[in-house]
């Protein structure tokens, strides 16, 4: 039996909480963009869901996740098949994928923005990446989000300035489709875990990280959160999980993902 850890960082807590998003996925491509989502998907694949598929973030599918960062010169990755970008689209459109991403805005409908902020669309105040693959991801397969700094700029009042991904907004529902076709899973932040399982797909609190209050989460969210009668504390990592995470991230890049790399249990 693995023992529950008492000394862990908030980043490690988030990795374990985010890994849970992939637990019941079966055999799908798990794509975690960014250090914490990638480690979360890798942890899930190495523990409770070995059926997951994962890429090397370049052009091959792996039977074993790669550690993050510089690897020894004699490192041999466990290639399973070629998986270049054109084939990624074949996978996306088949629906056999679950992506975890970090958008710049997430509105009350679960719509996200990765593109234009403020101003007008012709002349935005701040231009970011662009829509990327978010439109296709959101209509084709499951998606989760990771937010390292939970605040009202990300979880903003109103609708996203530019809607990169479809959410549970009845006004934008394509004809012939149901809101239930949209599949947003977990939202993991530095404060809590949420989903869109509230009434009429309202965002809902699933757990609070150790020492975080409901008020703090609600104050940092620009719209009301559905709160169940019992809100548990986000489960701590086990020693076994921490050891696997350390092996997947030998250069400790996870320490740079959340501001000031705080401990998982607030002092």
């Amino acid at each position: 039996m693995s023992t529950v850890a008492t000394d862990y960082t908030l980043a490690e807590l988030c990795i374990v909480a985010a890994a849970e998003a992939f637990r019941h996925d079966g055999e799908v491509l798990a794509t975690g963009i960014g250090v914490i989502p990638r480690l979360a998907a890798s942890l899930a694949m190495k523990t409770f869901n070995p059926d997951l598929m994962m890429t090397d973030s370049e052009a091959f599918l792996l039977s074993e996740p790669n550690p993050i960062g510089k690897r020894p010169a004699d490192f041999q990755q466990a290639n399973e098949t070629w998986m270049g970008f054109s084939r990624i689209f074949d996978n996306v459109w088949s629906g056999k994928r679950h992506a975890m991403l970090g958008p710049t805005q997430i509105d009350r409908f679960g719509q996200t923005n990765t593109s234009a902020l403020g101003g007008t669309y012709q002349q935005p105040k701040v231009m970011m990446l662009g829509a990327r693959g978010f439109p296709g991801n959101s209509i084709c397969h499951a998606n989760s989000f990771f937010v390292p700094g939970h605040n009202t700029r990300i979880f903003m009042d109103g609708e996203c300035d530019f809607v990169s991904s479809i959410g549970y907004n009845p006004a934008r529902l394509p004809r012939g489709r149901s809101l239930d076709d949209v599949d947003i899973r977990r939202v993991v932040t530095n404060l809590c875990v949420m989903d869109f399982g509230g009434p009429e797909h309202q965002i809902r609190l699933l757990s609070l990280h150790p020492g975080v209050t409901l008020e703090e989460v609600q104050d940092n969210t620009g719209y009301p959160i559905a709160v169940p009668a019992d809100v548990p504390t986000t489960p701590a990592p086990t020693d076994e999980q921490l050891a696997i995470i350390a092996g997947l991230d030998p250069h400790n890049q996870r320490a740079a993902q959340i501001a000031d790399n705080p401990p998982g249990i607030r002092a």
Binding site: K70, S86, S115, G130, G133, G136, S164, P174
Partner: protein, 290 residues
Amino acid sequence: MDKRLSARDAVAQIEDGMTVGIGGWGPRRKPMALVREILRSDVKDLTVVAYGGADVGMLCAAGKVKKLVFAFVSLDFIPLEPYFRQARQSGAIEVMEVDEGMMLLGLRAAAWGLPFIPTAVGLGTDVINQNPDIKLIDSPYDDKEWVAMPALNLDVSLIHVDRADFRGVCQIAGPDHYLDDWFARAAKNTIVSCDELVDTSFFADPARAREVFWERAATSAIVEIPGGAHPTSCNPLYGFDVAHFKAYNASAKDGGIAGYLEKYLGADEAEYQRNVGGLDAIRAIALPTY
């Protein structure tokens, strides 16, 4: 048929107002020497279609772009492309912002001679609402609405490969050819720069022939430019130039593109390569770890 041309003669085929597709992905295997040749030319008012990186940023900053068809523009390790942002934030360019996969479908439609390809991708998002030219259609087979992604017909495509022969057989030896095959097929005129010109017999080895992703009939011109992807990568020959990209990124806040071009562009590729430390230095750039 001998398709070899100089960079200058090849790029001289691009006329004002043309639609130009650019292969590669972000900071990876971009035909940068051909892009630099555009920067040295008088051509203008281009519509550019790309999975964009510094190619798009430079062309925007130099005032070559009338309209950009894009899903993202990024240098990857520097997520936000500085000159693309300036162009958007000053309202300097028209845009058609699409999903990455929609761009692929648009290129396929063009390659296959179709007016559009139906897809669910884009439904419910602003890539539809902000693009009045992308229509939603009824299906003859169900009661749902679908996106009719229009063909992205290209006048010219620019692509960089590892090796090619004089007839336009092109090898991409790196791990991914990205969507370059579709850029080649979607264009009337596909101009390919190569790091190395090889004899046709090079491709006799079936392992090498497997690294050829379109037939030579889809290649119009071959330009031999060793190091021609710099500062982007041409895996396995060289990685992307992190220090150069940092300098490029910094130039956007300090002097702008004029200062960058003054320092590096040169009158031709030989002068550019002298300005960035030479071909040996380019070929010595380590491959990235993802």
